[in-house]
Symmetry: C2
Subunit: 546 residues, 2 copies
């Protein structure tokens, strides 16, 4: 700051770690610094998500927008760029942002860089997970899950096929940690309450399954609390499968394997939630910074050793605690890391001594819904309604922003008085062109089915069957079901996956509006149709847009 | 009902007309009829939207889910099918529904059919409207508009190009009827309040434009109220353009034409809302029923003459009032039509005499936001805070369902205390493959721009320019910008629309994940790349998915 120009602090990431670093900086700066230090935040969204309350969005206990808080109102003196980070150049001290409305990239320069980009979801471990499982990390995920749950009830209410009905009413959550347990608890509560509005369904039709690869749920909490939580959930009808791994996901079920059993089992179910494991952020792995399993190595001051001016906080940083163990990826740790980081950035600017990160965690809390929870605070374990009241009090007090506190308190009050909301709001357009995964042996469609999609084989092989006989086997790049593009007559053959198969599915509307205009597509499809004896001149039927 | 089997009443449509017909039927039936008459409703969504309060979703005065009410809770004895209607067969007395999760169509049979399918939006009148304007009819539209408004503020806050900044902060609403006026009022209120959270923006940067083709806004209300409404809105900064028609919409503005002016004007603006005119429902135009401008002709009993057992209500029906004039498409009329229709269906079953439709309208109300409104009730005209209180009282009392009434009352209370919510929630995935419209002369991209999309010409012609010289002209089926698929280096040329042009745009991610797998695409693109000297082997770069 000696040269009179402003000291630029750039924070990457709009989670707790990043936003609280900005908030603490704003708080700690003196009036002179306020004029001479510029803080900027780059975040994908203009709000932070209060993760601990996300499960309550599934059940509608809290209104959707109330679990998020606008960053601009929390860090009022900081500049917010609601953009994706494209590139970090440590040497040039520059960060490039993705373009917004204009196709021009923005370049930001910095003196201090705080990397708080978090982690990404690692879909690569389980085939079909990306295509068919709903993750549980962002706000949109909670919304999608809620709408999916209502959609299943709607479909099941009028479904006459008992096997399909069972699929529609089975909800599978993979992962028995905090996130998975809170998710299945809220989902089960919501479904068993909402089902009352459906004339043809009863509470016992709902089946919620929790898959846990370890021998206990909530392993972080110790045996007694874990056992208590398991008993509570089982009493409410949740089917908990311990020592069970998720092997594959498709549109109508999962393949699981019990440890030691040696063989896999297919569990039918149209809703699969996966508390997907974390993977390093792809931008971080590319950086020339010291790393530990994809996380940026920092010292006890949150600084990256050997790179003055570079700091890292939150889940993307490997932050040593007093005892040398790396901090777990929780909000309480992110918040204290932010505080230490802000302190040390200002200390660096002021030439003051740096402070070490001394926080070791206050406790652990998991809500089980219906006024029960499990908690371990300062080594004391408790559960039931006391734990639940404690849980609500802690999180309400931690929620940033007064207006949100009031709104959540109001939501909790109304929730006692009013029935569960069962409106199914479509938040996403049905995807024009989508990917689907099938296990070996799974049926893609049956002879006689309603035909409304064209398929392209991306990976694997499918068999075409007519009256039980295999007529042909199709592989990569081949198409089938193209008759659906000209008419919705019934499928004339059955298609079955011969191996584990990835397909691309294109609806008639998407084909006519978009895909048919792509170069080369029309002629390829027409050629296939000619081979199959379909009149391709009918491809131009008018589009139904209602 | 004489033969002991159930009398089946099938209602198509989940709007006010359809759902209230079911509600009145349930109310009017005696215990014997409750056992012997079966009511079914087919609706696209499992809720009804309370249209009059939809504008308040834009400003966040009312929480999103509170303007909708679940049909199952309103019509508890009816069967609800949340499906799209595929086909109506009047002769066979059958209705076919679109398939749900399983690719099997459902067929419902009926003795009485109530058609209440409403109308659709007519996009065909204005080029580019479908691609770039946000309609204002459904819940998703209000949500999209709110998020778009916040996104514009976010973008503008960091935009340094003054011309682009102006585009981002200009909001254009087409249509000066009830819907357009209420929409611009709420949008303007929201923006001028939310802008306070943005460091680099001020209230006067916001520009809201209302386009009205007639010589007055709110022509239904008469001169004095219309003048009052116009003055109120203009005082708040809304730019009202009377006698002005919307001629075309593109991604960065509209072309308008003033009556008598003879020439058109381009108004830059990235947000265009169109209160799009109604078009007949495509299923209805196909029916062998008597029609009047795409609406089903019914008699004063709501029955279709010559087709016993076929009834029609709401916006899709041409319902004569006492004076012979056709009922306007408002909720108050739909509600009374539903009542008459329900009465007469039961009367037919009971062999009682039919009742005529005698309702002529109670009055007209438009909210102008900020505690003002205009109203005409029983011929008495009034405005200001009295009209506004009246407006709130009427609509709160009319809102179906006690829980929603309570939630809305709570929303209105909190709105007085708390600041506007400025979170931008992405409700839609960025479209994988999308359509874009350009006016003649418009720039698609500039030399030096960030390249992230491939384009295909669907209609019209574009020119490729380098340093001001036209290098080539491309027409239907030709592609450009394909270099974006392998690298995000800057665009090496400018592309400009030579005529009014429709393009398909494909992002790199969409290309790699989906489009490249479609038959014929890869080879066509590779051929073009070869011609242009691009190394197409690079097409397989790994996908960035964060």
């Amino acid at each position: 700051m000696s040269n009179g120009s402003k000291e630029r602090i750039l924070i990457l990431g709009g989670g707790f770690a990043g936003v609280y670093t900005a908030m603490y900086l704003e708080q700690m700066m003196n009036p002179y610094e306020r004029d001479h230090v510029e803080i900027s935040i780059v975040a994908n969204d203009n709000y932070i998500v209060f993760q601990p309350l996300l499960p309550e969005v599934i059940s509608g206990t809290i209104e959707t927008l109330h679990v998020i808080s606008p960053i601009r109102r929390l860090a009022k003196r900081s500049h917010l760029h609601t953009r994706r980070v494209e590139e970090i150049d440590i040497e040039k001290k520059q960060v490039k942002l993705a373009p917004g409305y204009l196709p021009k990239a923005t370049v930001l320069e910095f003196d201090h860089l705080v990397i708080g980009l978090g982690t990404r979801l690692n879909y690569s471990l389980v085939p079909g997970m990306k295509e068919h499982a709903i993750p549980f990390k962002y706000l949109a995920d909670a919304l999608q899950l809620r709408n999916q749950a209502v959609r299943m009830l709607e479909e099941a209410d009028n479904e006459t096929n008992p096997e399909e009905r069972k699929k529609l009413l089975t909800f599978i959550v993979g992962g028995g940690g905090f996130s998975g347990v809170e998710c299945i608890a809220e989902l089960n509560d919501f479904l068993t309450s909402a089902v009352k509005a459906y004339r043809n369904l009863k509470k016992t039709d709902i089946r919620c399954v929790l898959l846990q690869s370890a021998e206990r749920i909530l392993p972080e909490l110790g045996n007694d609390l874990a056992d208590y939580a398991q008993k509570i959930l089982e009493k409410r009808g949740v089917d908990i499968r311990l020592n069970t791994r998720l092997k594959a996901v498709s549109a109508d079920g999962v393949i699981i394997e019990q440890k030691g059993a040696g063989k896999s089992e297919f569990v039918p179910g149209r809703t699969v939630v996966a508390t997907v494991p974390a993977a390093p952020h792809p931008l971080i792995t590319k950086l020339p910074l010291p790393q530990d399993k994809g996380r940026i190595k920092v010292d006890e001051h949150l600084a990256v050793p050997g790179f003055p001016g570079i700091w890292s906080v939150g889940d993307c940083a490997a932050v040593p605690q007093k005892d040398g163990v790396i901090s777990p990826p929780t909000a309480q740790h992110a918040l204290r890391q932010a505080q230490t980081c802000a302190t040390n950035i200002l200390a660096t600017i002021r030439n003051w001594p740096l402070q070490p990160f001394l926080f070791t965690g206050l406790g652990k809390l998991a809500s089980l819904g219906q006024r029960s929870a499990v908690a371990e605070v300062f080594g004391i374990k408790f559960h039931g309604i006391i734990a639940w009241l404690f849980w609500r009090t802690v999180y309400l007090s931690k929620f940033p922003g007064f207006d949100r506190k009031l709104r959540i308190a109001m939501d909790w009050t109304l929730d006692i008085l009013l029935p569960r909301d069962i409106t199914q709001v479509r938040i996403q357009q049905p995807e024009a062109v989508g990917q689907e995964h099938f296990h070996a042996g799974q049926i893609v469609f049956d002879q006689g089915d309603f035909g409304n999609k064209l398929y392209v084989v991306v990976k694997g092989e499918v068999e075409i069957l007519k009256n039980g006989n295999v007529l042909a086997t199709l592989g990569q790049g081949q198409i089938f079901g193209e008759i659906a593009l000209v008419s919705d007559i019934a499928r004339t053959a059955t298609v079955r996956a011969k191996t584990d198969t990835d397909l691309i599915a294109v609806s008639r509307l998407a084909f006519q509006k978009l895909v048919a205009n792509l170069p080369g597509v029309r002629s390829s499809i027409e050629e296939t149709m000619r081979k199959h004896g379909v009149d391709f001149t009918q491809l131009d039927v008018p589009v139904d847009e209602y």
